[in-house]
Amino acid sequence: MKTQWKISPYLYILPAFALLFLFRMIPVAMSLVIGFFEWGITGSGTFIGLKNYIAMFKDEVFWKSLSNTVWFVVLVVPASIILPLIFANLLNQITKLKSLFRIMYFLPYVTSLVAVSIVWKIIFSEQAGLANSFLGLFGIAPLGWLAESTGIFKLIFGSGWPDWLGGPSLALCAISIMTIWKSLGYNTILYLAGLQNISKVYYEAADIDGASKFRQFWNITLPLVSPTTFYVLIMTTISSFQAFSQVYLMTDKGGPLNSTKLIVYYIYERGFDALDMGYASAVALFLFIILLILTIIQMRGEKKVFY
């Protein structure tokens, strides 16, 4: 087919393009500027320059939500790489019942975050929750979970531990556990696909050389799935920065003591509870910049050949 000026290709793209332009490109462009205005819920805004941004940098709750979010990423991301890698390796070694296990692991990923958040909220309830019943099997005293605002390091090392080194609250850890569980199956499937692409020849050669299974995993598997690891690392980080529903459903407005207030929940709260849309948009733009940097890292990294 020759390249020529024709009207029809544009007609084919038009419906998708029009919708994207109206409902994606315009809002994205708007979100770049709304932060410089003071907006009520409706009507027109007043230009106030950098005032929202200055207020944001002075806002303790903003910093709290940002540090919560960073802790949340630190808690969720490593586990979302290591556990799926283990699961996928185990799954890759069996033939029977493989699809049954895959279904079991994948199930949480397809179910709605709203429903499973409610279920996990009840699992973590102090009185009759499954988490405390489980700990009880090992003789461990019931924990406060979602009601516990104390940092986990302080809980572990006792009351002599300094407050500022307390770390993420137990409540935030509970939310992290649920989040890890939710996406575990998805990452496992990605790793499984990555493992199946590794040629058996490497392992056969290693067997002949007498390398142990662990050395084979360390020296062959790990380097060869590194593209998947990189993809999972960046994607899980980006999606962890966007967590919202868990906080909305499992906690009382990001409590106790703002210890589970993640940044997207804070955007929601300032925008739709406090109706300060300019400010909320300023926070959103800040988040956008973080995510943009992560996306650029991801695209750069993808081009590099790992092995």
Binding site: T3, Y105, A193
Partner: protein, 328 residues
């Protein structure tokens, strides 16, 4: 021998991990079938059971509530068939009282009660309506755009494609507030349009279709061109029938996505009549936070359709998930 032990350990580990993954679901279902007091007591964690007392009289057994038990005599309330109190504070000999444990005992009425409290029927209908109308929209816009991207040459193709790609990268929380303001300008807040029209385009689906169209043999299109078929004719008569499997897979993904979407409908609608299932469930979560068993019943009910869809299409879902993670 050693290999067998190894395999045994692998299966054991996989089973333990697998149980951890599905225990929350099992617990959800079993809790949804308990009475609230049984849940609060936490005696039977997984198997709903029922414990009650009966009074053996000459006329037969009666269900009772024990008020105060002593060695010789017990004060009881006698219950009628609907378990309402019929006669209060009667003193009877203790040896006529017997404890009964029925196991398992399923309280399906929790589902009825949850339905009575909240109009889940309306939410369900709203979700179905929004999901299916936007699905049709997504299929039409994606099919056309993907065909142009895969099989046509035109100026600015690369640039437009890149623009689509970059829009896919922007996460929803970023444009949530600006979208709210935009829909407000359209007077679309609190309408079905707000839930449907912006979601009638799905860049991920466009990619899936584009990939598929590129995999179809070129000769197919050439032959049709020689026969004098129009581009649209080719699309309708040749490409569409060959795309049924990919349409099915893409539909499943789009349906799961729109069924589970929460933040957008939460923000864009307010009227109870417009609530979709996820939003309705979140309101129920606030209103009935102490009625654990009803919450569990509602949760079970809300994920059931997606579970059925997943079990029917799990092979395709898992296979395409594996593919999307891999770059070409």
């Amino acid at each position: 021998m050693q290999a067998k032990i190894r395999l045994g350990i692998i299966y054991a580990l996989l089973t333990i991990f697998g149980l951890f993954m599905i225990v929350p679901f099992i617990w959800m279902i079993s809790t949804s079938l308990m009475t609230q007091s049984e849940f609060n007591k936490q005696e039977a964690v997984f198997v709903p059971k029922e414990e009650y007392h009966v009074w053996n009289t000459d006329a037969g057994q009666r269900r009772i509530l024990v008020v105060q038990a002593e060695k010789d005599s017990t004060v009881i309330h006698v219950l009628n068939k609907d378990l309402k109190i019929e006669r209060e504070y009667i003193k009877v000999p203790s040896n006529a009282i017997e404890q009964v444990v029925k196991k398992p005992s399923f309280h399906w009425e929790n589902y009825k009660k949850a339905f009575k409290k909240v109009p889940f029927g309306i939410y369900f209908k709203n979700t179905l309506f929004v999901s299916f109308v936007s699905l049709i929209g997504v299929m039409i816009t994606s099919f056309l755009a993907a065909y142009a991207f895969a099989r046509m040459e035109f100026k600015g193709k690369k640039l437009i494609f890149l623009l689509f790609l970059s829009m896919m990268m922007v996460p929803a929380p970023i444009y949530l507030i600006s979208s709210y303001m935009l829909l407000d300008k359209f007077n679309w807040l609190d309408t079905y349009q707000a839930l449907i029209v912006p979601w009638c385009v799905n860049i991920f689906t466009i990619f899936m279709f584009r990939q598929h169209f590129r995999s179809l043999p070129k000769e197919l299109f050439d032959a049709a061109m020689i026969d004098g078929a129009s581009t649209f004719g080719i699309l309708w008569r040749i490409v569409l029938p060959l795309s049924k499997p990919i349409i099915a897979t893409a539909s499943v993904f789009a349906l799961i996505g729109s069924w589970n979407s929460f933040m957008w409908p939460l923000v864009m609608t307010n009227r109870p009549e417009l609530r979709v299932l996820q939003v309705g469930l979140s309101y129920f979560n606030q209103e009935a936070s102490t009625q654990t068993t009803l919450l569990m019943a509602a949760s079970t009910f809300s994920i059931l359709p997606i579970l059925i869809l997943f079990f029917l299409a799990q092979k395709q879902i898992i296979a395409s998930t594996a593919k999307t993670g891999m770059k070409d």
